[in-house]
Subunit: 320 residues, 2 copies
């Protein structure tokens, strides 16, 4: 691109030809939300559907970034291309820059087979729960077949986002069984593969027994897929090939059992519901401003109109 374009269609055409700057700009548009984000979505949608997403989540400090970096190296050794989205719901903005704590991912910064991007909320109205699937579809549409979605932190939103991948990897550390703050039930529910990272530390065997015990007690005990537990050391790459084998095994299971198709259907239905809800919220914001809104509020305060009748009146245009 000689001149700086911001037109979604031109950016999309450039990204399809491998222009990384254009791809980064498209992701910024998605992050920002609004009509441009929707335009990107409409362009990407018909071309998407071939990519496979792997979610990575776990408590802060579990070593997710290091593990992601080691996984990238492994995929590159297999000559696979990979895209990574690092999602940080707690951060108000990223500016598209690589976050401080993923400096080690910069090992891959000059590798054209790797694309890494951090995403934060940045005013996207539906938040990251709407922006993430849009970003995944864009990466998918431009031909990335493996998309890793790493979430930072372990709140409800993080777990939800990571849980929406085709295969979800939950990263824990030795001693995890003792920690109180981890959202264990939530993580148990979304895990397709468990990783005990930093497994060279004391307590790894106990953590494996704890996890097996929890799995025995969970609904997963008798399901067709029991999440395997893989021991890794992210800093050395130990166990990473086994982790990737486990991901591929889950993918095989999910595909042949119909789970993958079911999950994608459910996800799309949820996303659609969220898009509808978001549109209605936007509509409510439009309705609840301006002169007529202020007059009505005043009438309610003066006891001329009750609040429910006032709401009826404001909503008349959408109740047809």
């Amino acid at each position: 691109m000689a001149a700086k374009v911001n037109n979604p269609a031109e950016l999309f055409a450039a990204a399809l030809e491998g222009n990384r700057a254009a791809l980064a700009r498209l992701l910024s548009l998605i992050e920002r939300g609004g009509p441009d984000a929707r335009a990107v979505g409409r362009l990407a949608y018909p071309l998407s559907g071939e990519g496979y997403t792997v979610g990575l989540t776990g408590a802060p400090g579990a070593g997710k970034s290091t593990l992601t970096s080691a996984t990238i190296s492994h995929l590159r050794s297999l000559e696979l291309e990979v895209a990574v989205l690092a999602i940080d719901p707690s951060s108000p903005f990223t500016g598209g820059a690589i976050l401080g704590d993923r400096v080690r991912m910069q090992d891959h910064a000059t590798d054209p087979g790797v694309f890494i991007r951090s995403m934060a909320t940045r005013g996207h109205l539906g938040g990251l729960s709407l922006a993430t699937p849009e970003a995944v579809r864009l990466l998918d549409a431009i031909g990335r077949r493996w998309i890793l979605v790493e979430t930072v932190g372990v709140g409800q939103v993080e777990v939800e986002i990571a849980g929406k991948a085709d295969t979800t990897v939950v990263v824990v550390n030795p001693g995890w069984g003792d920690s109180v703050q981890a959202n264990k039930a939530g993580l148990m529910e979304i895990a397709d593969v468990f990783v005990i990272n930093k497994s060279d530390r004391a307590g790894a065997d106990q953590t494996r027994r704890d996890l097996e015990g929890m799995l025995d007690l969970s609904d997963l005990a008798h399901s067709a897929w029991r999440p395997p537990i893989i021991a890794t050391v992210g800093t050395t790459g130990q166990g990473v090939p086994e982790l990737w084998e486990a991901v591929l095994a889950h993918r095989e299971h999910a595909t042949s059992s119909g789970q993958l198709s079911e999950r994608r259907t459910f996800r799309m239905s949820e996303e659609l519901r969220e898009i509808v809800a978001e549109r209605l919220r936007e509509r409510a914001r439009q309705l609840c401003t301006g002169e007529r809104w202020e007059e009505l509020t005043r009438s309610v305060i003066d006891h001329v109109v009750d609040p429910w009748s006032a709401a009826d009146e404001m909503l008349a245009p959408v109740e047809a």
Copy 2:
């Protein structure tokens, strides 16, 4: 009432005549939400506006119930009638019963000048943030002039609910300055009066100095009303008359400065916005079900329609 009636209008008429069982049933209707709750709201609205609400909030264990009970005793000694709403957002239901930890309020259970009621979410769609102002208006409409709203816990919702009173009392304990989990900034923002309860314990003077220091640094330092800090011992009633004097002083200030009218206007505007948003959520739930919805979702999954066009189609009836 000889026969058991559930008709909002009959219940309301009975409550107006002082029937406490009818009042309790009306509050259950509000708690439950839906058309009956709205019917109660419409009946109460025209008669409300004379009551004054005092919010009480603070960390669990701060002694709010004991303090509330002591305040009730003080108001009764002044021959004032009082109604108390104890709001517990974390509890899924109350059944209208008095919660375990407010057993001591049962001292007042047989006093006709006192009405105490616990409220929990119980499926009210808009949650307690919608049910609480409705309950307050009902108590107001049937002639209760003093309404205490006590919130259990100190999360965002509790602070919001308590902060919507005409006068908000924030209860802390000696040592509060050291605690990390308290939402100090949030409490600072809503406090009209600070209470150091259990002030006979060590550290009360230090807590007062901490509070004064925080007030000096806050926006309140130069405002027309600086929240006074009252030391109390809820179990003995010590300091409670001073607390009540502080509430009355704030009320006087709020009335003469126009703050009361401003706050009520803002509150009503927020509530109206919430009612509109709730109606739209209800509309979204209606839209996102049924055969047409399933067909559209299927088309999106099959890449026949993109998600935004599908949302457009679902929303066509409300976008007119």
